[in-house]
């Protein structure tokens, strides 16, 4: 088989080619430097859902902290020495027995990156973005989450400057689990609102 074409260029997804071209233009025109881009990417990949999980675990064990988290998530993150990132503002939403929040960004991929890390690919996909607002229960079912009719599903579309973080319900029977271990029950998907928190500690 002959290999007379440029593999790197052909195998690169179209979106990556566009992103690279855009980055090149921004650098050429002095809007950003390569160092700015690298620093931003380094920051992004250094973020993980573990930070969001710490906030949720503290909220589960400390009702006063939960109130502070609900009223000002940025200040609550700073209180735990977590980096809430530059603006945008994060707002925490509490799931209860009767209300289930599920977060989407129908316009692009807005996500609380400082506290959850980079968004998963499915979060950025057109099917999730369009169906989350038109058929939320169908989407949740595909994630394996079947909610009773008594539970109101609130889809929250992050269309502007606010980023939303879901506080999942604390699993029944987790009263004896210490806070550090509780954080292990708080998955990324549970903070997006497409899954419950884990029932038991991962093996």
């Amino acid at each position: 088989m002959s290999h007379d074409h440029d593999h790197a260029a052909l195998d690169e997804p179209a979106v990556a080619t566009r992103v690279r071209a855009l980055a090149d233009r921004l650098v050429e025109n002095g809007v950003l430097t390569r160092e700015d881009l690298r620093a931003r990417m380094d920051w992004l990949v250094s973020r993980t859902p573990a930070d969001g999980a710490k906030l949720v675990a503290r909220a589960w064990v400390d009702p006063a902290f939960k109130e502070r988290l609900l009223s000002d998530a940025r200040r609550a993150a700073l209180e735990l020495d977590l980096d809430p990132g530059p603006s945008p503002v994060v707002v925490a939403l509490e799931n209860t027995a009767t209300v289930h929040h599920m977060v989407v960004c129908t316009l692009c991929s807005c996500y609380p990156k400082a506290l959850l890390g980079p968004p998963p690919d499915w979060y950025k996909s057109l099917p999730y973005r369009s169906r989350a607002v038109s058929d939320p229960r169908g989407v949740l079912r595909e994630f394996g989450l079947e909610l009773s009719e008594e539970t109101e599903v609130r889809v929250v579309d992050s269309t502007a400057d606010i980023r939303y973080l879901v506080i999942p319900r604390r699993p029944a029977g987790s009263e004896a689990i210490p806070e550090e271990d509780l954080a292990s029950l708080v998955t990324r998907d549970s903070m997006i609102g497409v899954a419950p928190a884990l029932d038991s500690l991962p093996a």
């Binding site: 503002v89 939320p136 109101e152 609130r154 889809v155 269309t159 502007a160």
Partner: protein, 83 residues
């Protein structure tokens, strides 16, 4: 125009050429103010290199629906009309 929590509003259904943060599915629909956020630079001018000033008030709106489930989203003041 400014609004308070609980106020009923309608999202403008006007067309807008260029970047804006009001999704098509909500244009022309009614809803209720659920929260009043802070004010932020206007993305419609900021997207084109301007400073986005004056800042626009941002509102958390729950869209009127017929079922028990609901959609909440953030809409800037200049896209909202009193009903």
């Amino acid at each position: 125009m400014s609004f308070v929590v609980g106020e009923h509003v309608r999202v403008s259904d006007r067309a807008h050429v260029g970047h804006h943060r009001t999704p098509g599915y909500v244009k022309g629909r009614s809803g209720t103010i659920a929260r009043v956020h802070a004010s932020y630079p206007n993305p419609e001018t900021r997207a084109y290199g301007a400073d986005g000033l004056p800042e626009k008030r941002l509102y958390h709106v729950v869209v009127d629906g017929d079922g028990a489930d609901s959609v909440y989203l953030d809409v800037f003041e200049h896209w909202l009309e009193a009903t």
